[in-house]
Symmetry: C2
Subunit: 375 residues, 2 copies
């Protein structure tokens, strides 16, 4: 599925009439205009970004687009998970309408997963859908959130509870922009890379164990890890676009992770998404061991690898006090993966052997959380 | 496509895996629980309604659902077009989440097109889509808005500019509830019935000319007109679900109509949607005549029929002052049907011969509006 073109990799997401390319390379920002016009007949774009990313890369993007004759309009938001709110959705929708972006035009997300999820949701609802282009700038966004068409915002009841499926028309993953990403955010994105290995690719997990330092420092192994992750995600999405089945595997670590994000009030000083996922994946492996589904050694091996990558792996690693287990349980109940009272969890039989369990008794989860709770 | 079952008519909307039934009959409210359970395995519903409709029909619906073991949760909103706002969308989304409606459960719209559009939008975005059932209670909603999956709210920039396509799983059009509808709202709905004749069914228009009084007073002709309208809409929707082509014909009269609704600030004391459509359809026929596409006699005949039905047919029929032609033009430019500067309008070659014109010069429209403007 991966093709090389000069120094670029191309991963195709096969979704019938909504198929699209993910380009991975190190000077895509400078070629954005041409790549867009090769695919869309669009005259105008509304670029959504956050202050951090905007300060670094907005000018280069705008220049590339304007050189190719595309009119631009920019909407800059605060960075951080709290930006994924109804208030900001309204602001973006308003900006896109104000720019008179038509159905043949596009919204561009320039930023991490927060900007991608929010801008994609806006693109999906303005005029009941305008074109959408992802220019992911965080590792997490390049390997995960920019691919697959899930968009959304958070609600007081939980993460990502409101949104639509709206596939992008193009994803431009410029690997050179990752150089300005903080170590902490890089590690957080790496958690999602590890996830693909843990779901169903034990060999990839082994390769990551061997190449971790190279991925964190150098570009070749890094680009390879990104392409491999995009391929893994693209395959799952192509098989199950709307998450009626297999796609739920991508939620490995996320039910626990989302509960922890909620428990820390989406305060990125305490926990960012990828960190929640890292802890969540360890918990999912430990819970699977507790249910006699997997060996406790696998949970230890996963925790070891994530820890070496600089990620938190236990609830105790989170700064400050966590709410009691029953409140965490409540957040889990409000998470999306609920089916008639019983909980749906992604559990595992070992590394690379995740599966969907839709009959997990809440009482077992509560007992487990109580045991693991640090306070 | 219409089948009779006892005293009921069934119109099927063919949309592959998203196909659904429209039931038309006179005691559907009392059988809602059974009809829903025959199609969905849902344990809980969130009912969205407005105060007018809620006072009349909510108890009967809740009773029918609870008798069949479905848990209910109700969200009651103010009546009127202004209810289609982001604020109310947030309130409904919040209520649906509060009720812990899961992906296998449903949102029910009990009301006119306002409630249907708003509740459908909420159902489309909560958890990226939960089931949705339309129980349309106005004539307009029964013949038009409840069928086809277009949902949405208004923006400061114009009508229905924000929304999603989210098909219902079932439409229950209980004709007996129309007895409490005001004459004015009945007439407004009738405008959309006439629209189907004007688009491509001259025979249906002739039948309406003959049966108008019967449709307004009695039940048999009325149910027939409703079923015929649903069939017409279902056929267009099945051919072009996402309005990339033919479906745009359903916008006959709507570009002018929406501009007038905006010009009267969605104040239903001055103008309701169907009235805007009535004036808009006359304007579309007159503009077509002005462009030498159709005979001016057709425009007169359309105006005559709508007027007899109690509908406004000219801008002068609207109470109060209208903004000047250039402001109306601006609203037309912000309407959805714009393509690279030129305007897309539904024009006609005569009664039952509407077509999509995507090259209408804005200058011609402005000149026409200036001529027709009452002030
Ligand atoms: N839609 C999906 O399928 C999906 C999948 C996974 C995660 N997500 C969502 O993604 C979000 C997390 O994404 P994220 O980790 O990218 O968070 P983010 O968007 O908040 O980015 C993290 C931080 O890095 C900064 N940043 C981004 N790129 C940078 C760069 N190149 N240089 C310097 N700073 C940069 C941002 O300003 C921000 O402060 C969560 O909201 C999560 O729910 C969505
Ligand atoms: N989604 C679509 O495809 C589509 C198509 C056409 C129109 N629409 C939308 O539909 C809306 C107009 O719908 P509407 O005309 O039904 O307006 P509405 O929902 O405001 O209803 C009109 C009035 O009638 C009252 N009412 C409804 N049913 C009643 C009953 N049985 N007895 C007594 N009172 C009753 C309501 O409370 C309201 O005051 C507009 O917002 C328009 O944009 C949508
Ligand atoms: Zn994630
Ligand atoms: Zn209408």
């Amino acid at each position: 599925m991966t093709k090389m073109q000069d120094d670029r990799k191309i991963v195709r997401v096969d979704l019938d009439t909504r198929s699209y390319d993910i380009l991975i390379g190190n000077d895509l920002l400078g070629h954005a205009g041409g790549e867009i016009l090769a695919r869309l007949n669009c005259k105008k774009v509304a670029i959504v970004t956050d202050r951090n990313v905007g300060a670094l890369y907005l000018d280069a993007l705008v220049e590339s687009l304007q050189t190719d004759g595309i009119e631009t309009y920019t909407i800059t938001l605060d960075p951080g998970e709290k930006t994924k709110s109804f208030d900001n959705l309204i602001a973006v929708v308003d900006g896109v309408l104000e720019a008179r972006v038509e159905r043949s035009d596009a919204v561009i997300a320039l930023g991490g997963g927060v900007i991608g999820d929010l801008a994609g949701f806006a693109a999906g609802i303005v005029r009941r859908g305008v074109h959408f282009i992802q220019i992911p700038t965080s590792l997490l966004a390049q390997v995960d959130s920019s691919v697959g068409g899930k968009t959304g915002i958070n609600a007081p009841h939980g993460k990502n509870l409101v949104g639509v499926f709206h596939q992008p028309d193009l994803v431009l993953a410029d690997t050179s922009v990752l150089d300005t990403l903080s170590d902490r955010e890089f590690a957080a994105g790496y958690a999602e890379v590890v996830k693909y290995g843990l779901i169903d690719q034990p060999d990839f997990f082994h390769w990551l164990e061997k190449n971790r330092t190279e991925i964190f420092s150098g570009r070749t192994a890094r680009a390879e890890a990104i392409a491999k992750s995009c391929e893994a995600k693209a395959a799952v999405v192509a098989a199950d676009e709307r998450e009626t089945g297999r796609r739920a595997l991508l939620n490995l670590g996320h039910t626990f992770g989302h509960a922890l994000e909620k428990a820390t009030e989406y305060d990125s000083a305490r926990l960012v998404h990828g960190e929640g996922v890292a802890i969540g994946m360890v918990l999912a492996h430990e819970f699977s061991a507790r249910m006699n589904l997997a060996s406790p050694d696998d949970a230890k091996r996963v925790a070891h690898h994530l820890k070496e990558a600089g990620l938190p792996t236990t609830m105790g690693d989170i700064d400050g006090t966590l709410p009691p287990p029953n409140i965490l349980m409540d957040a889990i109940g409000q998470d999306k993966k609920v089916k008639g009272g019983k909980l749906t969890f992604i559990l595992t039989r070992g590394i690379g052997e995740a599966f969907i369990a839709d009959d997990v008794p809440p009482s077992e989860v509560l007992a487990f959380l109580t045991e693991k709770h640090p306070q």
